[in-house]
Subunit: 325 residues, 2 copies
């Protein structure tokens, strides 16, 4: 298939958003958003680094890559609207497989009412999928990592460690286990970013927010550093899926704290707003859990501490290596 | 160098544009542009496909990759404002070389008053540099390929074929020639997109516009197809640098019509506005040349014709292969 034919084959027939002034087909795309700030983020996935064709079908490569970006937009308090795709294609990939990648993106884009508005298609030795997403947020309504305050409740959405467990199953377990743990595999392949929950939470005046792409150990530290506060997390309150208890406590510990790509959210909110946030969560069919509290301890600010087995240990960014176990 | 240190090393200390609400350092970047449409485009360069470290220094890789994007923004009639960078880094590249790539981008960004506001840094086997640029254009003032009308004058900026000649010199010629033809080498390494010219031309009501990234044979055909008109180009009027006559007429012909990456502009404008456009060109120190005329010939619309040596031949998109020579 010629590049031109391929581009035509992935081109949308219509645009979902009325904000698209010019989509694919000129030198660049144009979108119109009045009275809103523009959010942008890029995420890149490389074959054999971020995914393997052994564990990931082309559809899921596209889906997950877009999900990662949408999650970043949600973590800013925004609504994703459009995306541009840069793809580096090796000879070994067929046109059908490439189209499946775009179908995976489109599957999620449809859910989120987003449009593919541009891209670049080039050849190379290794498949590289790089997506830039545009989103919008009402002026002054963005959610930053730096907004945590003393006595805030630390919360997370969903259950954690699911995607890491799913990848583990795909890489190691027998076919029977695949069926038994289909939930985790799905969470690895098709994570659903928390867009609707966040877009309903405008009434909450202040919230610090981060998406969980590298595990809460990492993301909580980012909030602690950006806000210059001390985050205390109670391990027993970190939500896990019931089936995660089928695995060793060491595995569960690792996946829950450092397992990436759940694309859930971690944030902090004032005690006063916590009840309202729970109502919003319920309305948007989102599980949220309080997992700890924000302290202002000048000797510890910028760090995260984990309460576990009657001990309080420092939780490093890389939860993998720096924990006493 | 750790990824985190590297990212810190390329992070700007300040933002040039007041439109940057949030730059690097959260889940995504945020920009504010009131009353303007947002333009976005992505361009990807792959090592050994789009550049070779034999002919291109890291600084120029960064510079050219950003130039390609800025040129697309200019071709929409817009002003580039910010960019996000996705880079795939093989082990063989040193931190110094990588920083030079970012310095090359920053060198041009400074000229254009643009900000680096985000990115993604991942590892892989082949260097891939993918840049997404955001720009702005006044509402309803964008320039499209589809706006050519009958009797329009076809114009181009600058001289054509320079970058292709520069690449040829770098690949083939002796060291002496390098000095003699430094002009062409510079045009290949550090093309300057026509931003200021375009940003001064708002008074021109209608203009079709395309940037010359793949040669005018290709770009003129895009205008012809998008506008459903016939473009007639007079080869003798296509502007070349005087030194290009040092090369064979076959080389000159090929480079002028099909040589990519000059990042000049091709467009069409009404006869009535041509004089005013020439004044704007003069004010912005831009050479522009009239090279042909737009016809409305229902049997030929969507195609481009080249007047050369008393013959009128069809000029295909790929000027390389489909021309009688």
């Amino acid at each position: 298939m010629e590049e031109f034919d391929f581009i035509r084959s992935i081109q949308p027939n219509f645009y979902r958003q009325s904000s698209v002034v010019k989509g694919i087909g000129d030198d660049a795309a144009i979108v119109r958003h009045t009275n809103e700030d523009i959010i942008t983020t890029v995420d890149t996935m490389v074959e054999d680094v971020h995914f393997s064709s052994k564990t990931t079908k082309p559809y899921h490569i596209g889906y997950r890559a877009l999900a990662a970006n949408i999650s970043d937009i949600a973590a800013m308090g925004g609504k994703p609207t459009s995306y541009v795709v840069s793809i580096v294609i090796p000879d070994s990939w067929t046109a059908d497989e490439l189209q499946e990648i775009y179908q995976g993106m489109n599957g999620l884009a449809k859910e989120c009412n987003m449009d593919l508005i541009g891209g670049d298609t080039v050849s190379g030795e290794q498949l590289v999928l790089s997506i830039t997403v545009l989103g919008t947020v009402l002026k002054g309504k963005a959610r930053f990592r730096s907004d945590a305050q003393e006595n805030d409740i630390i919360f997370v959405t969903g259950t954690l460690g699911d995607a890491a467990c799913g990848l583990h199953i795909l890489l190691n377990a027998s076919h029977t286990d695949h069926e038994k743990y289909q939930y985790f595999i799905n969470r690895h392949r098709m994570p659903m970013p928390r867009v609707s929950f966040i877009n309903q939470s405008d009434a909450i005046k202040r919230m610090s927010l981060n998406d969980i792409s590298d595990g809460i150990a990492n993301e909580a530290n980012e909030i602690a550093m950006a806000s210059d506060k001390t985050l205390i997390i109670d391990y027993d309150k970190v939500p896990s899926h019931p089936q995660l208890f089928d695995f060793s406590s060491k595995q569960k510990f690792k996946w829950t704290l450092s397992g990436g790509e759940d694309f859930e959210l971690i944030g902090t909110v004032s005690n006063r707003d916590w009840e309202q946030l729970q109502v919003i969560a319920k309305q948007t069919d989102t599980n949220i859990s309080a997992i700890g509290i924000v302290r202002n301890d000048y000797k510890k600010n910028g760090t995260v501490w984990l309460q576990h087995n009657q001990e309080l240990n420092r939780l490093e960014k890389s939860g993998y290596t720096h924990l006493r176990r």
